[in-house]
Symmetry: C2
Subunit: 341 residues, 2 copies
Amino acid sequence: MGMSKGMDLKRIGNQTVVFTNPPVILSSYSVVGPKEGEGPLRKTFSKVWQDQLHGEKSWEVAESKMLQESMQGALDQAGIPKEQIDYMLAGDLLNQIISSNFAARQMALPFIGLYGACSTMALSMAVGSMLIDGGFARNVLVGVSSHHDTAERQFRSPTEQGTQRAMSAQWTVTGAGSLILGRSGVGPRITSATLGRVVDYAETDVSNMGSAMAPAVADTILNHLTDLQRQPSDYDLIASGDLGAVGLALAGEVLKKSGTDMGAGFTDCGVMIYDASQDVHAGASGCGCSAVVFAGDIMQRIKAGELKRFLLVGSGALHSSTSALQGESIPSIGHAVVIEA
Amino acid sequence: MGMSKGMDLKRIGNQTVVFTNPPVILSSYSVVGPKEGEGPLRKTFSKVWQDQLHGEKSWEVAESKMLQESMQGALDQAGIPKEQIDYMLAGDLLNQIISSNFAARQMALPFIGLYGACSTMALSMAVGSMLIDGGFARNVLVGVSSHHDTAERQFRSPTEQGTQRAMSAQWTVTGAGSLILGRSGVGPRITSATLGRVVDYAETDVSNMGSAMAPAVADTILNHLTDLQRQPSDYDLIASGDLGAVGLALAGEVLKKSGTDMGAGFTDCGVMIYDASQDVHAGASGCGCSAVVFAGDIMQRIKAGELKRFLLVGSGALHSSTSALQGESIPSIGHAVVIEA
């Protein structure tokens, strides 16, 4: 293993922390919209909404309700009283992360708001694990959400306009995924985390965020593997979330040029959640995408013994509509967490 | 002291954590705009810009540059090479926290993006301290920013419009403050932290955010004092940031009705930074306000021995323009950190 600097430091190499008492994933709950409920992972979600509004007066309120529903589901599944949850960590794509803020009002737990765009699930799992392993919490609730229609009208065009999408564009997932992490109990464990640094290769096309994020994902994977002296084959599966088809191919290429062949065990949550018939072009994106794919499909495969060691690399495009209109490129980031059966 | 649940848990009472090896504030650096540079705290800031653009092409780019300048200042002052900074924690008011994201691109450090509105400085100090005390980092860079003109046009009206402001409104500070926190070294220490829960008393007036936030600040102060079995007089000074004059009076009243008389040692960063001649109405707000007041004036008074134990209670109004236009009230939060000489 790499060098550890300082006596009781839990760091390995430059960017990775290894948990002394790896936090347990005590429960996982996912809620998705109708389109996600028609996709190939339909059977892995805890709940599928029949429409995008779900009886609420706006898509924004619906998104926050979806996040609350996934959080309550994770709480109920874990069977832990709310009084024993010491922190709630959450984030989403909306300006000032309102979906999370209103969910935090409902949960009434000490709240840490995070922003890492589509990487927020991995970020919240990493920070939540540090709070538990560091002795600051018994249990932590983490959850993130995205909603196709709230994201579409905030980041792109009025939804009524029917703007034609580029083939490299990704479809924002309507979904929310939540986990309860605990210091003791039975379940898969989060064993290490590699938080990423911002990487920006000057991509300015907001209809091609996969390309913008690919180098950041590659950077984090390379640092993670170097820090832990591992190879891609040390994982049963590595999934980025969410590069889409364009970004996934590009990340594989960047890694290959850096001397790391990812092999067949490298996929992307944004590629997994829809199938070719669903007309989403390059795949899916949104905080909710990697959250519901992980909370559903991946957790089931870990529990079934199919995946013994899994690497989730959340990927975030950290621009805003304003920065894009001002001609800035898209700063991107990748955050990695290791989950072991 | 209150009960600590679990063997090595660093929690006291319901919401407070007490650090085993309290992180040291190794350096603090503040950069402000011209208006702040003309106020009563002018001599306490590290740097005053002569205008709001500072030669950049937009206020948004200027805000991020201001944050970068404060971060570089804190790094230089601490004299710690960037390779020994394990995480950068930052946040700001702009949509998708772009000021912080672009600063993170410049710093190229593993990055945790936070959103707590004007409470983000206290939040980042609390989380940063947990990462250090938990053994996950040697040193951490924390910093936040706000800019009057970027906030004004994002949250309120086009700045050219000259809209008349309500008397209860607060003026967003143009400023950025950064700290280096370390596990060893000389300086004031962060000894405990109480992260808040969202409190919402149904205030919907975005021109009266002090009133919206006052109950959240009161809630956190009460929980903090109860958890640690302390009284306000156990602190040389307690400063919220930023309630402004309206909110500060209201918080004092709420606390008094709950049986806690705050006495003369309760103030607010948003009251301190401007004087009556500066026409700011109820005072100041913005992530940068409590950051530059703490990094400047408060740090100087701690180092001079005037303040031996100080409580900063960051306050955040967690709405967005969209949630306000949709008729939602303002969910608010208070995060507290204790700094001791």
